[in-house]
Symmetry: C2
């Protein structure tokens, strides 16, 4: 097939959407309130395992050679004309948050699969080998550390450390990998691709509001997660004078308000984002002062220096609040990833591919963490974002992408993979 | 027995403590963290049922005539020399909060029982009949309305309304009364005592800090409970710019901070107390903005006018926050009891009894709700408070009263009951 003919290749949108539907039915649940169907495939849960087996089967049906590594990352290799060359890799994740949508992660995995299926349909063998993959526990919702599988694959997190992480029931990553049959034989850290490219839903409102077809991702915000254990004194809400109180719930509330003041103040850049997503008071009764609160803080910033200053300010504020309210605050950093800058040449290749498809695009910063940011430590990397309906909502059953939105992203992915796989070593 | 001899009567402290221990073992659980044993006897639960049957058996063993009314209140009658006279009633509750102590309620019930056992030991028959009792769901933790049984008994809450209250699993009060065998045959509203007196742990730090033996309760603070359902928009914590957010958790935090400012400001009296005990964000994930929060507000004030002003101010603040943060706030009043002033003559009788025992005492306002406040609507009423260790902590497994603290309260109760039962009609 000529380079020109290859440039005309289009994916099979119906097949892509059918695969998304079929994977979306695994761990599906109906949200009564908004009357839509979401997915719950928590990492290494029985639902995640069913999703993994479904996709692994599709990889095999597409004629790919599948290997599972020691952290459960699942790679599917497709031979190239020059087998000695480093492959072009594309992939994402099949795990979800507890109340997730059908596209987050799945589009990147099944999109890469659709690229391979399209190449198979047309008998195209690329110059470099291709690897498509899904990575373990990207969401971090169950074991507390996101991008776990890809972080272990590239050596940022030691395997033994990842194995020993436990969920709320005390089950370890290692135990659960074994239990679902995805504790693989391949050693971690064996793969250094030529380039990595991932297509993902934006998970934000920017593209849909600006009516732009695609985002060319320039990098990923730095992320800082902390888990606060605030200990005060549980006491009777009626009989305890205000001056005697050590209200752990009030301490959490003050910290939450402070987070929003820090964002509004602009001192940490216009892009600082902060969220208290978990607030769990004990005993959690109407007439009992909360004696203990577990709360989480999620900070995002594209500027590592501003992030450090925000963390330091928050540390100081926590100490101040602890003293003022007579509580203790244990603050544990549960995740921290620096801001990531993606490769300029891969971004340009994505732009060229989008132009070739006649699609509008803009450069955009990723607000969420992605597997691609881990792979960017070992090879040139960038990402394609697709817009979503409902203000680009994600981590929510209302997450929704149209067939055109999906196809635009994956046709661009196909074109970029073809161009990257033609590159010299 | 002469009046002088009767004045010398003392309860059997060991027997009282043994009964408290035995009832405390029903629904007992061990709190690992503080290494103490608390109780969990939620109203109309299997544990509450076991506690009820144990105490009912003791009532019968003491020779009392036991009746259960249609809301599960359990009365035990002891004949007097003048059976036509209205009885003196004493009692409290055996249900507990989910993380309760062994004395809250139990001291009032088993103390009244110990008074009867002591009278039995000495062959004393009082002039007026005596009734000792326990009342259904004083805590209000399961079905949302506290003092439920006594409120129905005195006609404040209609029986059918009480029956239709449901717990979080949708089980109704009527269903659960039937299920535990305490849907009694006696009609509600049949009892109008001559006087009502209840002994209860203070559940606050005042007596123990001032080293005073007993509190003579002057009345009960007004209580106002509301349940807030704050609805914003759940969205990705990384990808959603701050300006797009509708953070229901932030709204709850702002309201919590406001409650404490209202107390500190003094505008609603020095005794205003406010607590946000329940804060339940959904979906409650570290990287998802809370789209919905269920939160509760517990307001207390001994001044009904100040309470009304505080409620109005809070309503306005909720509207302000809803507008500012782009959320909706549904606010449901789940309980509201006006401030109660207890009977002066019963308070004087308690003071005289305490003086007779050589015990120090002070007048004190109850911060918590009690069954006695309901009975004060139909007969003259007051309460005896006993101090507790650990700053008088209650609704907590660390709740602790010494044998002397219990005995001081119940010896005084015995003396007051004897004096009230001698009064003319």
């Amino acid at each position: 097939m000529t380079t020109d003919a290859r440039a005309q290749l289009k994916i099979n949108t119906d097949r892509l959407m059918a695969s998304l539907d079929e994977l979306g039915a695994v761990g599906a649940y109906h949200d009564e309130e908004v009357s839509v169907t979401g997915v719950r495939r928590l990492a290494l849960s029985p639902e995640d395992a069913r999703g993994r087996r479904l996709v692994k089967g599709w990889f095999e049906e597409a004629g790919l050679t599948v290997s599972v590594d020691a952290i459960g990352n699942t790679y599917a290799d497709r031979a190239g004309l020059e087998p000695a060359q480093a492959p072009v890799m594309s992939g994402s994740h099949v795990d979800s948050v507890p109340t997730g949508g059908r596209f987050d992660g799945a589009l990147g995995v099944l999109g890469a699969l659709e690229v391979v299926r399209t190449l198979n349909d047309h008998g195209v063998t690329t110059r470099r080998p291709l690897t498509i993959a899904f990575f373990t526990d990207e969401e971090g919702c169950r074991f507390g550390t996101d991008m776990l599988g890809s972080a272990v694959a590239v050596g940022r997190i030691p395997l033994e450390q990842a194995y020993s992480l436990t969920d709320d029931d005390g089950k370890s990553v290692q135990q659960e990998l074994k239990s679902i049959g995805f504790l693989g034989a391949e050693a971690v850290g064996m793969r250094t691709p030529h380039a990595f490219v991932e297509c993902h839903v934006e998970q934000g409102p920017t593209l849909i509001h600006e009516e732009i077809d695609l985002g060319v991702v320039t990098g990923v915000q730095g992320i800082s997660w902390r888990r606060l254990t605030i200990t005060g004194a549980s006491a009777h809400a009626g009989a305890t004078p205000m001056s005697f109180r050590k209200d752990a719930g009030l301490a959490a509330a003050r910290i939450n308000c402070r987070l929003h003041e820090m964002c509004a103040g602009g001192e940490y850049g216009a892009e600082m984002r902060a969220t208290m997503g978990v607030i769990h008071p004990e005993p959690g009764m109407i007439n009992v002062i909360p004696g203990r609160v577990i709360a989480t803080v999620d900070l995002r910033n594209p500027d590592d220096d501003a992030m450090r200053r925000a963390e330091t300010n928050l540390d100081a504020y926590q100490q101040h609040i602890a003293q003022e309210l007579g509580v203790t605050i244990e603050s544990v950093q549960t995740a921290r990833t620096p801001a990531v800058v993606f490769d300029e040449s891969v971004q340009r290749a994505i732009e060229a591919a989008a132009d070739g498809q006649g699609l509008s695009h803009r450069r955009i910063l990723a607000g969420a963490g992605h597997d691609a940011q881990e792979w960017s430590a070992v090879c040139k990397t960038a990402m394609i974002f697709t817009p979503g309906l409902n203000d680009g909502i994600s981590h929510n059953p209302r997450e929704l992408s149209t067939p055109k939105q999906c196809a635009d992203g994956i046709n661009t992915l196909l074109s970029v993979i073809l161009s990257l796989s033609d590159e010299d070593g």
